[in-house]
C-alpha cells in the first residue's frame, strides 16, 4: 500500500496504490492527514486507479479525509474507483456522502 501526493494551487491529489485493507490503512490515513495539514487544500482528489483491493478499512480512510475537508470548508472527490472497490462503496451507501467522479 502506498500513497503519493501532489499539490498545485491548493488542490491536493493523492494517488493510492496496492491493497487498502486494515493492514495498510493506518499508514495511508497518517500520510493523508499529514499532507492535508501541510497544504490546507481547498480541493482534495483521491485517485484510486491503482488500488488492487479494498475493504471497509478504505471506507474509514475516505470518511476521515472527507470530515477534515469539510472542517476546512474545502471539497473532496474520489476518482478512478476500480470495480471491486465500487461494489464495497455501494454496499455501504457511501455515494450518499462522498462524491465519486
Amino acid at each position: 500500500m502506498a500513497v503519493s501526493c501532489t499539490c498545485d494551487r491548493r488542490s491536493l491529489t493523492a494517488v493510492l496504490s496496492g491493497e487498502l485493507d486494515h493492514h495498510g490503512a493506518k499508514q495511508i490515513m497518517e500520510e493523508l492527514d499529514r499532507r492535508v495539514e501541510q497544504e490546507l487544500p481547498r480541493q482534495l482528489t483521491v485517485d484510486m486507479g491503482a488500488v488492487t483491493f479494498m475493504d471497509s478499512s478504505g471506507i474509514a480512510v475516505l470518511l476521515r479525509a472527507h470530515r477534515r475537508m469539510a472542517q476546512l470548508e474545502g471539497s473532496m472527490s474520489v476518482i478512478n474507483v476500480p470495480k471491486q472497490a465500487q461494489r464495497v462503496f455501494r454496499a455501504a451507501g457511501l455515494h450518499r456522502i462522498i462524491k465519486f467522479l
Binding site: H22, H23, S56, R87, A91, G93
Partner: protein, 148 residues
C-alpha cells in the same frame, strides 16, 4: 436440502494484520475450483477480509490469538466460509450487525457485517462474551456453460 461437501481446507493463523491478505488469497485460490467469475472471486475475498479483520481487530484487542478459517465446497457449487476466533466475543450480535455500529472508533466504519451480508448469500454470526465468535458465510457460484 443440504448438498454434500466435495472438498475442504482448513488454516489456522495468529491474529496479525499481515495475515489478512494471506487469508483472502487462500480463499480466492480455493474458490478457483468452482470456476467463478472475477466478480465472484472478489466478493469472496472481500467478505473473508471483513471477517478476518474483525477477528484481528476486535476479538484480540491487546493480544495475539488464534484465528481459524475453514473453507468448504459443495456439490451444488456453493462455498462455505467459517471464520472463528477465541477472543472477547460479542455482547449483542444483532446490534453489532447493524450498519455503522462500531466499537472500533475513528479507524472503523462499522460496515463490515453489512458488506459480508450483501456480498454473500447467507451470513450467520454466533458469539459468546469471553468465549469467541464464529462467522459462517455461504455463497453459491454460478455455473457457466461451456467456457473453460
Amino acid at each position: 436440502m443440504k448438498a454434500k461437501a466435495s472438498n475442504f481446507v482448513s488454516v489456522d493463523f495468529p491474529s496479525r494484520s499481515a495475515n489478512e491478505g494471506f487469508a483472502r488469497t487462500v480463499a480466492a485460490c480455493f474458490a478457483a475450483q468452482l470456476d467463478p467469475t472475477l466478480d465472484e472471486v472478489n466478493d469472496i475475498k472481500t467478505a473473508v477480509s471483513e471477517a478476518v479483520t474483525n477477528a484481528i481487530v476486535h476479538a484480540y484487542p491487546d493480544t495475539i490469538g488464534k484465528v481459524s478459517m475453514k473453507l468448504r465446497i459443495y456439490e451444488d457449487n456453493g462455498m462455505e466460509i467459517v471464520i472463528r476466533d477465541w477472543g472477547v466475543g460479542i455482547e449483542d450480535v444483532e446490534q453489532a450487525r447493524e450498519p455503522m455500529f462500531s466499537t472500533g472508533g475513528e479507524e472503523r466504519a462499522g460496515m463490515g457485517f453489512t458488506i459480508m451480508e450483501s456480498f454473500m448469500d447467507k451470513l450467520r454470526v454466533r458469539s459468546a462474551p469471553g468465549k469467541g465468535t464464529t462467522v459462517t458465510m455461504r455463497r453459491r457460484i454460478s455455473r457457466r456453460a461451456g467456457v473453460k
